[in-house]
């Protein structure tokens, strides 16, 4: 996926979010740190442009909620979550770059529930690469990319990596 394809995907997801939620003022976006956080900000911009609503944007770090935290060798570095608004009764669009096993989303859902009780949570991802290990599906997908289990999907975003690109890397 190149720069243009990523932009079109974000535009389309933004339109779908507006349509599904009838341009509600209760739409909020919460991005999963790090790249989901960047995508959430871009989505918010696109939504504002299209629908004259300015969704609130927050970010969460799910590390402390990981189900494999006890299994990794060293305690991973954690970043601060930042949800500067009350999520009760809001429509929360959870945003991440790649949907894979679904475990990150499970962690994120648990964390969000600790902040309050949103009216609903919907999931938007740039890439769905398959191989789910939990019953989790996205509501909005930029692109479905069939992959082998051992391939790696790298998402690069300008704000963080200096360029917009999605690549699939074979490990062998």
């Amino acid at each position: 996926m190149d720069k243009k394809e990523i932009r079109l995907a974000i535009d389309r997801i933004a339109s779908e979010i507006i349509e599904k939620n009838r341009a509600s003022r209760n739409i909020t976006l919460i991005g999963i740190i790090r790249r989901g956080n960047i995508l959430a900000k871009r989505l918010a911009k696109a939504i504002t442009k299209k629908a004259k609503i300015s969704p609130l944007v927050g970010s969460i770090d799910i590390t402390l909620y990981r189900d494999d935290l006890q299994l990794v060798a060293e305690s991973p570095v954690i970043h601060s979550s930042n949800i500067p608004f009350d999520i009760n009764k809001k429509i929360v669009i959870l945003v991440d770059d790649v949907l894979f096993t679904g475990r990150t989303i499970r962690s994120a859902l648990d964390e969000i529930i600790d902040y309050g009780r949103p009216r609903c949570v919907q999931l938007a991802v740039l890439i769905d690469r398959g191989h789910r290990e939990l019953p989790i599906q996205a509501n909005f997908v930029g692109k479905i990319v069939p992959t082998a289990r051992d391939e790696i999907v790298n998402v690069y975003l300008k704000e963080f990596d200096g360029r917009d690109e999605v690549e699939i890397v074979k490990t062998r």
């Binding site: 909620y65 935290l69 060798a73 305690s75 954690i78 601060s80 902040y115």
Partner: protein, 304 residues
């Protein structure tokens, strides 16, 4: 990552390790402001608070920190009068080992007791004060609190006033602060300064009134009244006159000075109530930040 599995003394830590604990503590500080201030990071881990000396705030702070991380907390407190040294501590250690405790937070009157325990356990050990040796999490939470007001402690002047000799709080602060580049000045009755204190990298001020105007932080230590009965200073009143942070002395301070105290305060002895409760005091911030710093330490040590 903190080298090894224990936090025994700030003397042992590198500047980088101190910063790592502080940085992660900032994240945990944010967790404490959430509607549900609990994260599941240490689910299934058991932390034993082993307190052979009476302590209220440190024990509560560790207890809350561990619970905020979803760890199970078991508390054992023994009165200080019991002879719980040497063999007894070793026996305790053996019992801990078979009960599958993941981490031990130890408060003990004997310097080196935390090291003693750490050498004999596979569980991680956090020193919560061992005699007059160190109290590393106190030092870290003090540094954290200073860093809330200063981006860096490089060349900041921290004046520590009181019984330096018997104070593990002073020792941990001195090691930690000097590693971060602060200029530490100590001031207290000569009988309560350790021999060759300058070798720890600090300057000694003989007159508090001359030292106060330059200080960016004034750290007032609690005066242990039992030191008076052993003749180390003449009277509480005289101590106040010579070393107390009185209302009159507070006027000589920098405008943006931070006033700190590890608690519990002897009001009107080492610090006047008006000063301790005044706008420049960050004493309650210290207590609040202590939970975040201890969460950070427990999280980093319990990993894997």
């Amino acid at each position: 990552m903190i080298r090894g599995k224990n936090l025994l003394a700030l003397k042992d830590l590198s500047r980088r390790e101190i910063w790592e604990i502080i940085d992660q503590a900032r994240t945990f500080r944010e967790v404490l402001d959430r509607p549900i201030p609990i994260v599941p990071a240490l689910r299934g881990k058991t932390i034993l608070l082993l307190f052979f000396e009476p302590s209220t705030r440190t024990q509560i702070s560790f207890n809350i920190a561990a619970k905020r991380l979803s760890a199970d907390v078991v508390t054992f407190s023994a009165s200080s009068s019991s002879v719980l040294k040497g063999e007894t501590l070793l026996d305790t250690a053996r019992n801990i080992e078979v009960m599958r405790v993941d981490g031990v937070v130890l408060r003990h009157s004997a310097p080196g007791s935390a090291q003693f325990l750490a050498d004999r356990l596979t569980a991680f050990v956090v020193n919560a004060g061992d005699g007059c040796h160190e109290h590393p999490t106190q030092g870290l939470l003090d540094i954290y609190t200073m860093l809330e007001h200063h981006e860096s402690l490089e060349d900041k002047v921290v004046l520590i006033v009181g019984d330096i000799k018997h104070s593990r709080v002073a020792r941990s602060n001195i090691w930690g602060l000097t590693k971060l580049g602060a200029e530490v000045v100590v001031c207290g009755p000569p009988t309560l300064l350790p021999a060759e204190v300058e070798k720890m990298g600090v300057r000694v001020a003989s007159n508090i009134d001359e030292a106060l105007p330059d200080a960016d932080v004034v750290y007032v230590l609690r005066i242990q009244k039992e030191r008076q009965t052993s003749g180390l200073f003449p009277s509480v009143q005289e101590y106040r006159e010579l070393y107390g942070l009185t209302k009159a002395r507070a006027r000589r301070l920098k405008k943006k000075v931070l006033l700190m105290h590890p608690g519990p305060i002897n009001r009107g002895v080492e610090i006047d109530p008006e000063v301790a409760d005044g706008p420049r005091s960050v004493i309650l911030d210290q207590a609040k930040n202590g939970v975040a710093v201890r969460m950070s330490v427990l999280y980093l040590l319990a990993g894997g």
